[in-house]
């Protein structure tokens, strides 16, 4: 949705190096070291994946790696918990459909 640039207690958002991640083929700017989920929510991505059977949209729920609602395909590997996985420059992130596609490796 938006970054909190100024905060009454935490102060201004510290400067941070930028990295670029590819989200469904589009470049998205992220802060170095932040979690993928934070970058995607800041960029306004409405949902991260769709469920296996009913194709329902999902995004974060627990935000701390416990519920697996936020999983996506990251650099070709499905079911990566984006709320506890940090961005890397050039990382390829895809909205995951169902339980994901291992690209024929399995």
């Amino acid at each position: 949705m938006q970054r909190i640039l100024d905060h009454p207690i935490l102060g201004p958002l510290p400067e941070e190096e930028k990295v670029v991640i590819m989200v469904d083929g589009e470049p998205v700017e992220a802060r170095k070291g932040e979690m993928i989920a934070a970058a995607l929510i800041a960029a306004g991505k409405p949902y991260f994946r769709k469920t296996v059977k009913r194709h329902e949209p999902r995004s974060i729920f627990c935000g701390i790696g416990r519920c697996t609602d936020c999983v996506m395909t990251v650099n070709g590997i499905p079911n990566v918990r984006t709320c506890v996985t940090a961005v890397e420059d050039g990382m390829v992130i895809e909205t995951q459909l169902g339980s994901g596609d291992w690209g024929g490796k399995r």
Partner: protein
């Protein structure tokens, strides 16, 4: 196999204090935590603490966290981050996975579990829609990641977590459209509730969320009034324009490792449900395993810290690191603090619940 005197699982306030107390006594301590940063929930708590006056009330959680990390560093406590504890076997071996791929078994003379708690969910049609999340998730987003999960928030639950996170969402620049509470009365400490009220946020007691609407993301919420039997009253529904619903419906102790190891359980509804049985030194039914903090019953960061100290002290003592006299003095001091924290209107209930756990048979 790696060998250590004491392995602490979890680096929240309970785990850090346990490690510090045990290291001060001379034990060789290792802390493991699955996160990339230590501190557990502490660094999300940007508000001043409640609790007893003598007890760091008025200090912000983040500042306490910084202080504890400094102490741990000065004591040369070893910390393995990005390390998930997956199981405990033979009562003294902890199986961990480091950096998501390296499996290590740690042989520990004593294990202290300080794994915290998980947030409870509330189910209603639409609760799985993106934009519906735990209040803790929203708190993590705003205070740790500095990202607003939404602009227009509905909070479910008026307990401390509900009102504290509501206030922090306001501080972060969001609008909090309402706080709904199913019970007929509000649940949080007066100071925190008052701050949210003063900001003009309406509180609806005796209300709940009937439905979250939206297709790819929540677009609105339907709220309804409840009768005395907590049944929705037809005709009282109204719709709120929100893009986020936060659920603050309590926490459940993260007991998986403890029960997997074979610790006996006790049911304590006041403290969040099934918890590992423990005595007042925080030892479980397995003599090499101790617990502290939310995993032993959900309370507050201040009690988690004291319980951590108690567990660290007792574990070190059981390994022969402390003279009886020194142990007694520390034990009395920590116990005194715990009793003070468990007094007053809210504290008494927790004090009684803790007593009941200790009194239950070891099994």
């Amino acid at each position: 196999m790696v060998e250590r005197d004491i392995v602490v699982i979890g680096s929240g306030p309970a785990g850090l204090c346990a490690a510090i107390e045990a290291a001060e006594a001379g034990a060789k301590v290792l802390i493991v935590d699955e996160n990339a940063k230590p501190g557990g929930q502490l660094f999300k708590q940007i508000h001043k603490f409640f609790g007893s006056r003598e007890h760091r009330a008025g200090v912000r959680g983040i500042d306490i966290g910084t202080l504890l990390l400094k102490q741990a560093e000065e004591l040369n406590i070893e910390v393995w981050l990005n390390t998930e504890a997956c199981g405990i076997f033979d009562q003294d071996k902890v199986w961990v996975v480091r950096d998501k791929h390296t499996s290590v078994t740690i042989h520990a003379k004593r294990i202290i579990l300080a794994t915290g708690a998980n947030e409870n969910a509330v189910n209603f049609p639409g609760w799985t829609l993106p934009g519906v999340m735990g209040a803790g998730a929203a708190q993590t987003m705003i205070n740790i990641h500095r990202v607003l999960p939404g602009q227009k928030i509905l909070m479910i639950g008026s307990g401390n977590v509900g009102v504290i996170v509501s206030y922090q969402l306001l501080q972060a620049g969001a609008q909090v459209k309402a706080v709904v509470e199913a019970a007929p009365q509000l649940g949080g400490y007066g100071v925190h509730t008052a701050k949210v009220r003063r900001a003009g946020v309406p509180f609806y007691t005796g209300h709940t969320v009937l439905e979250a609407k939206g297709t790819d993301h929540i677009e609105s919420a339907v709220v309804v009034k409840l009768d005395a039997a907590w049944k929705p009253i037809a005709g009282t529904e109204f719709e709120l324009d929100v893009d986020t619903i936060c659920i603050a419906a309590g926490l459940t102790p993260a007991v998986e490792l403890a029960f997997g190891a074979g610790c006996r359980s006790v049911n304590s509804p006041v403290l969040g449900g099934l918890v590992p049985w423990h005595d007042e030194t925080m030892r479980t039914s397995l003599s090499s395993i101790y617990i502290a903090g939310d995993v032993s019953g959900v309370e507050e960061a201040s009690t988690a810290m004291e319980e951590g100290r108690m567990a660290g002290l007792s574990a070190a003592q059981s390994l022969g690191y402390l003279q009886e006299k020194r142990y007694r003095t520390r034990f009395e001091a920590i116990n005194h603090n715990l009793l003070a924290l468990r007094s007053g209107m809210f504290g008494q209930k927790r004090r009684d619940a803790k007593k009941a756990i200790v009194a239950a048979s070891k099994g």
